[in-house]
Assembly symmetry: D2
Homo-oligomer: 345 residues x 4
Amino acid sequence: MKKISIAGATGYTGIELLRLLVKHPEVEIVTLTAESHAGKNIADIAPSLKGWVDQTLVKLSPELATNCDVLFLALPHTTSMQNVPELLKGGCKIIDLSADYRLHDAKVYTDWYKTPHLNPEIIKQAVYGLPELHRDTIKQAQLVANPGCYPTSAILALAPFMQQDWADAQSIIIDSKSGVSGAGRKLRQSTHFCEANESVTAYGLGEHRHTPEIEQELSGLEGSDITVSFSPHLMPMTRGMLSTAYVNLKKNVTRDALHAHFVKFYKNERFVRVLEVGQYANTAHVAGSNFCDIGVQVDTRNQRAIVTSAIDNLMKGASSQAIQNMNLMLGIDETTGLDAPPLFP
Amino acid sequence: MKKISIAGATGYTGIELLRLLVKHPEVEIVTLTAESHAGKNIADIAPSLKGWVDQTLVKLSPELATNCDVLFLALPHTTSMQNVPELLKGGCKIIDLSADYRLHDAKVYTDWYKTPHLNPEIIKQAVYGLPELHRDTIKQAQLVANPGCYPTSAILALAPFMQQDWADAQSIIIDSKSGVSGAGRKLRQSTHFCEANESVTAYGLGEHRHTPEIEQELSGLEGSDITVSFSPHLMPMTRGMLSTAYVNLKKNVTRDALHAHFVKFYKNERFVRVLEVGQYANTAHVAGSNFCDIGVQVDTRNQRAIVTSAIDNLMKGASSQAIQNMNLMLGIDETTGLDAPPLFP
Amino acid sequence: MKKISIAGATGYTGIELLRLLVKHPEVEIVTLTAESHAGKNIADIAPSLKGWVDQTLVKLSPELATNCDVLFLALPHTTSMQNVPELLKGGCKIIDLSADYRLHDAKVYTDWYKTPHLNPEIIKQAVYGLPELHRDTIKQAQLVANPGCYPTSAILALAPFMQQDWADAQSIIIDSKSGVSGAGRKLRQSTHFCEANESVTAYGLGEHRHTPEIEQELSGLEGSDITVSFSPHLMPMTRGMLSTAYVNLKKNVTRDALHAHFVKFYKNERFVRVLEVGQYANTAHVAGSNFCDIGVQVDTRNQRAIVTSAIDNLMKGASSQAIQNMNLMLGIDETTGLDAPPLFP
Amino acid sequence: MKKISIAGATGYTGIELLRLLVKHPEVEIVTLTAESHAGKNIADIAPSLKGWVDQTLVKLSPELATNCDVLFLALPHTTSMQNVPELLKGGCKIIDLSADYRLHDAKVYTDWYKTPHLNPEIIKQAVYGLPELHRDTIKQAQLVANPGCYPTSAILALAPFMQQDWADAQSIIIDSKSGVSGAGRKLRQSTHFCEANESVTAYGLGEHRHTPEIEQELSGLEGSDITVSFSPHLMPMTRGMLSTAYVNLKKNVTRDALHAHFVKFYKNERFVRVLEVGQYANTAHVAGSNFCDIGVQVDTRNQRAIVTSAIDNLMKGASSQAIQNMNLMLGIDETTGLDAPPLFP
């Protein structure tokens, strides 16, 4: 049994990690941290886990990294990079769910996060943890930067267009719709029930911090710089994320041909389900699972592909993807503890 | 007091018309029809109206048009055009909330609605009832085709770009998000609470029947044919519609300049609120009102305008806009019975 | 035009007061206070009011009471009683939406609110503002204590049982279900969207502070002390409150007889709608209105009346009831500015 | 591997059975029926199961019972009893999720379901499938009547009061709140998204068909006839059920004593979690799991116990409880395939 610890165990991604890890056949939980709840039992902060995890929360310390095999960091960005250098010395593998090591270029990080990166030299050893793209390097990594939820849904929808001469990689628009849990458990006015309920709104248009992450990965696949328009929206639901991606097509590509291309592209991916021709991705059909459903359409009047991708933002968009990375890093089957159907309705 | 009747009074738009008309100072309700509920009292089918409307529902008949000044048709499409010719002879003014008379070209109607138009000659006398664009002709009309909800939100977001040399009118993408009430009160699997709740999905991408309506109006403003990509999505909320519209900009247009253009464009429109620079339209801030809120953004990295517009789909997207048309047709103040703040939260 | 001011204008009850007052034909808004948002424009804090109220928020001060006819206090409890003595000297009429002057007995206040009452002598001049019970004294009052939302729904459901020899006034159980807006706009974990959504839970069973308020009013009607079991629950919706009240019946009272008694009891009350025999109160049918809907049932197998009452907690449970009180205090028609149908769906 | 079939596989309980059974280590799926969808693939009707179950739906026939070990009937009531006699002859074990065999007395069935029971002689061999009460007889049964969702939550909340001299077993009131999925996947006006959303209402007060089921089981435990008041309510959420049960206490029973009694009563039950003193059951903390959470309170001012119990109505209230019964009937560990934490948030 591998020993696992979590820093930041009481947020939504921390609780979701625990829900999955307590059923994972190859791991055991060692230490859980939570700065503001230290000294309390995790089950008092996350009552769903009563009877499953009976541990007292502690504060984050360097020792955390010395008595476990894998350490998940479910911390706010900037907090991660303040701690990672010291924690890496502890020798454990680290999966960071924050944004701090996702961008390969420290300057890009600074531009979008408005703060200097504290340890750009460590960025180099971090691997971007999207298994469908970087499976082999993830297996070798000591530090994995777990992707953001928006980038996960957007990149999986768009990767099949890269290096295709019939697609205009510079025309990409991504219109994404996220459930409220994507904003975390912290209190803010916009996530008050009465303000998020019965409300649909955009935010951060053209400015959201997940933009460079999407561009980095698509550019890497394409082999040249890609700039996208990325538009996040907040939806009145707890879990789920739908991205609607628009790509101009250069040639007369039919829906059937595009669909066949997607099916082939993802034929070996357990957690990507390319839907039948004519079907649309729906967040309700992936809730509680590690699946990404993809629907392929073509607006033939405008020679434009429209791809819809649905994930559970707390699962494939965060915690279950982190465990997928853990499995790879531990050399065990990638689907261990993750291969279960979504919860519907 | 003008006499008003409603055909199809028990659907959501019919109930909403009644909610507004019972408080309207210049009208009285005469006859209410509902095919399946004929013989019942409206308040038993719409308990919110108990104490407000105490009428027995009847079936639709030609006499409906002979004892009222204005007749609202809140009927399914094709049902309207089966009845309108006979009803027009009755002499009353008609406001049709169905799609049957919105398109000026009967062939376009047939292409999108997959059924021949029964009376193309009547199309010519119908006026498209978007007051912000066609106020003067609405005033003279006997038959007004009330706009669809999606077109209302899309056209108001995009009209200011027409005939502007700095905007590429052929690059338009409209990504719209609608509350479930837009699908009507009729039962279907997709609007079952358990299937719509906690669910976000696209539908009819590139194929939705509101597309030609948007194109007709924008083309009319531009003075040449415009083709758009229109993508409707279903949201887990009852009321509200947000459209996110993308337009490529030819020159270096700043957000401030674009915002100033919108403010000027709508400066005389009581029911369009152009938000401050940096604010996003939110469906929760227009619920229960006739307002359309518009937020103006520019993605400077991609030289692309992104406009968000929010309406209440049952109000400005249907019933209150119909009453705005009625006011114009009756020669009374356009805002009568409509000028009230939204319900928040 | 009477001059109106509001202390605490940016909470949900403050915003709801403004929504109603800007349409009220006999009043004008003078001053709005908000401690944390002083200096900002109200429309930036409550965007639904854009175009309706264009005022800069100020801090609370004694002068507030000297330049208006009616002052609404939408403040937290204890804050009200710190300010009311000074404000009363200003000469205006005061409607306090907090709990500070609802209980006639300062000791009961202290027992339930765990803090001494600061000015028990002022309690005596305060009138409990439930118009259906205290219309005449409200008209004469300078200080009205606006009822809590739970007490409003419970008392209206139970008042008809008082002083009836066929009802056991000591057997009362009230099981209430409230929308989240009842908890206010302040941030707390339990009202985070992701924790309130898809969640139903009880809280404060046998301990909620609205209990003595219900008991005081029912005891007053009965003429002897009544003790009730009151059980509040939090529902995953924004607005609305349903109370299910249980009363043991002494004699063989039929549902029809009980219904007839309720109809007669409320026959002159514009804002109480006793539903038909067999109908149940539903929060969706009173949303956005000042109505209280009441459904009357009898569990004949157990000789027990079960009454359901539905209100909009922000309206009849708070702000529209406060305006009903204002109308009475100003000597104008009680229904002015309030008599409109609910918003459905 | 045991062979399992499901009649009525496309409803919510059928889909939920499948979600659990595909991960159950000791069973395989053989046949799935659905009258209206026969000939289609289950994954087209339940897209969440894509990649998990690839079967063509067939119509119900007697052969269904001859090629499986356990047959689940997720059929409407009366449909079950039309088929069970023939199916039993097939030799398989049957778990009936309908109401047809839950009541031991055919006359009571007829009184509440308004239709004669077709095979009262078979009622005798049916066992009421609440494992916490009838574990041993379930193990021996060929036919198990799976409990209703309301009875499951109510009986588990109330069983500890039976045969206790300090509790008044004749004073029981159960006020239950159910998510919409309890009404099934069939279309009806009350479960249309726009009518159930933002709506709380009671229904069937004193008349609901689950009443005799609760009374039968409590009477069995008490050893004498018990009559209860049972009040179901519909909540605006998909999954979850909270029952608030009221019991008058004869002696001065403290909350701590009552809590200790509950802890002891359920100390060997894996799927009943008695919460800490002062905690309330919350449907959000059991979603997606087989757990029943129970919170114990005492209203000391009225000498009344108030117990809250929360279940997921599709799980412990239907499908996972059915699998718990299956495990018992197959002689395998009762928790197999069921022992997983709830999904939160």
